[in-house]
């Protein structure tokens, strides 16, 4: 998979996504939205998949729960992965399912060594069932917790070493979490080994409407400029990686999202809107 830029696929954009002729465009969906027996959504995804690479980005496997991944969910994920042959399958370093109840969010946990063992086992189980490695994404964090044994970067790196999984680096989540919990986003990104990073996410955030100073990972706004700066810095260090523009709320027209996607694409490929200003040619006879 060449490192080009993709777009989170929304049902209201199926028709335009199908006919877009953008260079290197790929799409990503949440498999949970396609865990159905049939229907127009699966048909549309099939048509788009015939023309474009696809990534499956899970939000419901609950890898960080102190429980085995739900066999039914894992089977549904495998069925989709077998059917659509995505170039990557990813999930989050978070939990959502616990004791039979699903909380539709990506919840935090104390990063203890015991949790590392449990999550490495859950990733291993997932990869065994899928028959492929997955990427694991850093979550957006809102709650300072006591009792961590490891920094998040060390925790993620240990998971890659133990399981062979790769990392999906969500630069907006790094920005939001660093702001909310008070650490340096640059140092966080610099700690991630280039060879582990398989994909990058970019999304928008916003203020907490509840009135706190927290930033919220809303996926409801354009990517913020400081996040673009962090992104360029990361790509300069590790090289280009498949990069996704995510938008899940206040979804604008396809063309508006494609303009953001084209900016990332330009930064990855050195062309178009996102390209670096070209240096002046060196004077001859130097």
């Amino acid at each position: 998979m060449p490192p080009t830029a993709g777009l989170g696929l929304k049902p209201q954009h199926y028709a335009e996504a199908l006919v877009s002729d953008a260079d290197g465009l790929w799409f990503e969906v949440h498999p949970e939205n396609y865990m159905a027996a049939g229907g127009p959504r699966l048909r549309a995804l099939e048509a788009i998949r015939e023309r474009r690479p696809l990534s499956l980005h899970g939000v419901g496997l609950s890898l960080a729960a102190d429980a085995d991944p739900d066999p039914g969910h894992l089977a549904a994920l495998k069925a989709l992965a077998d059917r659509f042959a995505p170039f990557v399958v990813s999930e989050h370093l978070a939990w959502s399912a616990w004791r039979g109840v699903h909380q539709p969010d990506l919840l935090p946990f104390p990063r203890t060594r015991a949790a590392l063992d449990r999550i490495a086992g859950n990733i291993g189980r997932t990869q065994d069932v899928l028959g492929r490695t997955i990427l694991v994404e850093n979550p957006s964090l809102y709650l300072p917790l006591a009792g961590h044994d490891l920094d998040e970067t060390d925790f993620l790196i240990d998971l890659t070493r133990r399981t062979g999984c790769g990392l999906l680096v969500d630069v907006n989540n790094v920005f939001v979490s660093a702001s909310n919990l008070g650490y340096a986003a640059e140092a966080y990104l610099d700690a991630l080994p280039a060879e582990a990073v398989g994909e990058i996410h970019l999304a928008g955030h916003g203020p907490d409407e509840g009135g706190s100073a927290l930033l919220i990972d809303t996926h409801g706004a354009p990517v913020a400029e400081p996040v673009w700066v962090l992104y360029r810095r990361l790509v300069d260090r590790i090289g280009p990686r498949p990069t996704l523009i995510e938008r899940d709320d206040d979804v604008p027209a396809f063309a508006v999202l494609m303009a953001e996607r084209d900016r990332a694409h330009g930064m990855l490929t050195g062309t178009g809107a996102g390209a670096r200003p070209q240096p002046l040619p060196a004077a001859s006879g130097e």
């Binding site: 027996a37 127009p40 048909r43 939000v59 039979g100 509840g210």
Partner: protein, 258 residues
């Protein structure tokens, strides 16, 4: 003894439900009694549930308005959280819950609207099957009468003792017209033979016809007889042709020779 991670998850879920950080005290750094972050998680979870219910019950949402719907959906979700991550099917008990929800007492049609929305959403995500075209039924009369049809896997139909299907269909129309609730009983059928969910009113003969097949595995001849008994004045040929055009049949097995 429970692992530390299990204890944390139990405490986190309790802190979400009880709207206090107290259960999480052992994991919170000193000083912050009610951290704002916990509210962020609570709000995101509630929004995820409410948005899914709004998507799955659009007619209910349009009839009661956004504020009423979101307030009711939040209460439903608190007591009936999703059991799985795929929220396409979330809200199984919503219609029954609305029937017991005191603020909906003056909206007695609302549980039926939820039930009909659920039929529509279920049809949308039902398994695929090729609908039978009219040519498949071009058989000798005795062979046709003995044949046993298979109903499309997306088909749902129901009978209501008031005009609730008409109210629901009017509310779902792209440009909703006048919505009136008549006292006459009405049926409804919902089916997705290909990409699009179709829904329409069903008269008593049409309901009896489909019910005989779905309930008793009736042959076409037996189903026609059931329709004629339900309404002796029914135009049975038109009824059958309309069901074929709707795409409600996905198979036809030869029957036993008479």
């Amino acid at each position: 003894m429970q692992s530390a991670l299990s204890q944390f998850q139990d405490a986190f879920v309790a802190a979400l439900a009880e709207r206090t950080a107290a259960p999480l005290a052992a994991w919170l750094p000193d000083g912050e009694a009610e951290p704002a972050g916990l509210s962020v998680y609570r709000n995101t979870i509630a929004k995820g549930c409410i948005d899914a219910l709004a998507a799955n019950f659009p007619t209910v949402a349009s009839l009661v308005g956004d504020d009423w719907f979101r307030a009711a959906a939040a209460l439903f979700a608190r007591d009936n959280p999703p059991a799985g991550a795929a929220l396409l099917a979330y809200g199984e008990g919503f219609a029954d819950w609305l029937a017991r929800f005191p603020p909906a007492d003056d909206l007695p049609y609302l549980p039926a609207m939820a039930r009909l929305d659920r039929m529509w959403t279920t049809a949308l995500f039902a398994p695929e099957a090729e609908p039978l075209a009219a040519e498949a039924f071009a058989l000798a009369p005795d062979v046709l009468a003995a044949a046993r049809p298979r109903l499309h896997p997306s088909l749902a139909f129901a009978w209501f003792d008031r005009g609730l299907p008409g109210l629901w269909l009017a509310a779902r129309a792209p440009e909703p017209g006048e919505m009136t609730l008549v006292d006459d009983p009405q049926g409804v059928l919902v089916v997705r033979p290909e990409d699009t969910v179709r829904s329409r009113q069903l008269d008593l003969a049409g309901f009896a016809f489909l019910d005989a097949i779905a309930r008793d595995g009736a042959s076409l001849g037996q189903a026609i007889t059931a329709a004629a008994e339900a309404d002796p004045a029914a135009d049975l040929a038109a009824l059958f042709a309309a069901l074929i055009a709707d795409g409600v049949f996905s198979g036809l097995a030869p029957g036993d020779p008479a």
